[in-house]
Assembly symmetry: C2
């Protein structure tokens, strides 16, 4: 099975999300739709574990051309990356090998679903192909729960993770109200505080938590933070705190390292290990206990949870996020098929919906505008040193879908 | 407003659950239904923060007699304890003061929703009242996410927590499949492994995780565990592990203390602090990294999450659990109104439903049979040193409600 357009390949990369399989299915559906219109590809390959599955020495391709629609629909609703994912951050030599496989497999379309590292891989492979005169379209389909891609209002994966975080803090606020104390919840987000900010979404009453929200965009000063916690605790007898795993001191030292001396273990990207450990929350809880004024002979009860991988794997995805993840992938295929550009990254920006409601627009930008760059929370979303603004929650609200209602006595 | 039956009081105690408010509303509804039948009470008091709200020096009662049904329905669907909870474990002197308040408020019915400590409080107050010739009915409405109450097949709160744990492991198994490594998830459960066992509920394929399940009922031997992890890792290239926070060595030392020397901080009940910290998962991850055979020059990637308070506050409760929590509270009120016994604890046992399906029966047992006792997993639920049996998952399945479906490529 092949035609003049050659074959296509799709792969998933980086930390999975609740909707990265929606994007995968969107690519497959888009390619099939193109085939029905007579402009399609031959074989649709899926590469296992991202670009790693495209290396000659570890090649693992699956043929997705004929997977039944019913199976695809089930896969689309399943969290995590159905093809497997990869933490590899390929350099030029790695990308040369990837390109060799694509050539051998007569692949003319490469769709890579992932964050800004995946965008960079797309860029390198695309430039190599162009340089060697091989006709290849490389499109980056965005995915990140951190929402840290440039050129986007938000990216698929974020709203579902935000839904989880908002639900968690809604529940923990009620728990903390029932059994008062100081509670810290550590939220994912190495450089951007969008996900940690979602903790404030469901605040309804004046004294609802989280009472303090700490994001990587604002320097974390332990002395100041202890004072803020103490003030809330004196006023309410409790304090619920949201803190990004990536908060850092004014000099750029990650708080985890500042508190524990740990954090020297680095991942494949040269990043300090932050997820998959409760160390930051525990160290911060201990530090606060030590600094807070004792109550009735002892430190205020201080506990910490780290919300952990559940933020990216929780199956109850936002319906808006599901739809956008699928649609952005379809948009990528259409852009690729239309021709005109050799490569690009799909973006989501806000549009004005009917009656001023929520709507988005999909667009295509140069890979170099996204690749390897990091977006941060804009100043209008940040309130002082320890909160998010109503502008932020208004921005977030339409993306997360319906939320549970709460009753009080 | 008062009649010859006197007043009633209801309170919530211990760690909240997703359905403890269903039980609260069940008590109120039951009392109102009794009033319609002419046998009701005068005022329905709610005590804030359990028995603490019944102490003369910190009395905080709310009048629940006229709360609109619509509000009650919202409260019933809200996680955590709407009246507030308490960690107090009252002694005789404390209970004397509680009884004084009940007398002064003309309370003749006391409903206490909580675990085995609350059952014990009921017992003490009931005996004191009888001893002093004060006519008081004391009924314990069960609640525990650990499922560690004697005389019960299961208790309200457990199934919703189990639903959360089963969903988490379902998602994390997919995550771990996409990005393989060794992953530890620490689950609540100080003495009983029922909740940790729920991690295995959604296993569908032969290589699905959790691959190893460690509960407090089985002595935790680090040497043996490291061997079991290594064997799974060699076979599958990954290993997902469920471990109860309360696992202990054969000599009874909690693993947390054995690994870190920590765990000396004790709560109001004299228990070692286990929840609200990631220390056990982190210490176990480090210990395993150290013991496992290096792969490609380094230890296998090992991460730990602690599922944390979300297990008890997550709003997406099991519909079966919701209904049973409500019904068990109604049953308590009926038993109290019927007369005949002065006190008791409500139980849930299995009955045979239509066509052999799932059904339960509510019963009443002596407080002393439940008070201060702990139930453990029966041997038929435990498989070897590191798993649960099909008998366990078959027992659990009908309680958690509908679960998400999974698709694979």
């Amino acid at each position: 099975m092949s035609n003049s357009n050659g074959n296509a390949i799709v792969a998933q990369s980086g930390g999975p999300s609740a909707v990265i399989n929606q994007s995968l299915v969107g690519v497959i559906e888009g390619l099939r739709a193109a085939s029905l219109n007579g402009g399609g590809v031959g074989t649709i390959f899926g590469a296992r574990h991202g670009v790693r599955g495209m290396l000659p020495e570890s090649e693992r391709l699956v043929d997705l051309t004929g997977v039944p629609a019913q199976t695809l629909e089930l896969v689309a609703g399943t969290p995590s990356a159905a093809l497997g994912s990869s933490r590899d951050k390929p350099d030029a030599a790695y990308c040369e090998k990837v390109l060799a496989t694509l050539r051998r497999r007569l692949v003319r379309y490469f769709f890579y679903i992932g964050g800004n590292d995946s965008s960079d891989t797309c860029r390198i492979v695309s430039e190599m192909a162009a340089g060697s005169g091989y006709d290849l379209r490389c499109f980056h389909v965005p995915k990140t729960i951190d929402n840290d891609l440039m050129m986007n209002d938000h990216t698929p994966g974020y709203a579902s993770a935000a839904r989880f975080v908002a639900t968690a803090f809604m529940g923990d606020n009620l728990d903390n109200r029932a059994l008062p104390g100081i509670k810290i919840n550590v939220v994912m987000g190495r450089h951007a505080g969008f996900l940690t900010g979602a903790s404030a979404l469901m605040k309804q009453r004046e004294d609802d938590g989280p009472h303090l929200v700490y994001v990587p965009e604002v320097a974390f000063d332990l002395e100041r933070v202890a004072g803020e916690v103490e003030a809330v605790y004196r006023r309410l007898g409790r304090c619920l705190i949201a803190v990004s795993e990536g908060v850092q001191r004014a000099d750029g030292t990650p708080l985890l390292r500042a508190l524990t001396g740990a954090g020297k273990e680095k991942d494949a990207h040269g990043n300090v290990r932050l997820s998959g450990t409760g160390a930051l929350g525990d160290a911060l809880a201990e530090e606060l206990s030590r600094r807070l004024t004792p109550v009735g002979g002892g430190a205020p009860r201080t506990r910490a949870d780290t919300l952990g991988y559940a933020q990216r794997y929780w199956p109850d995805a936002s319906p808006v996020d599901r739809a956008e993840a699928r649609a952005s992938a379809r948009f990528a295929v259409e852009a690729a098929m239309k021709g005109g550009v050799r490569s690009g990254s799909i973006t989501i920006t806000r549009a004005t919906g009917v009656g001023g409601g929520y709507a988005v627009e999909y667009g295509l930008v140069d890979l170099a505008l996204v690749a390897g760059k990091t977006r941060h929370m804009p100043p209008e979303f940040l309130e002082g040193t320890s909160g998010v603004t109503p502008a932020f929650t208004q921005w977030l609200r339409p993306m997360v879908g319906e939320m549970p209602r709460v009753g009080w006595l």
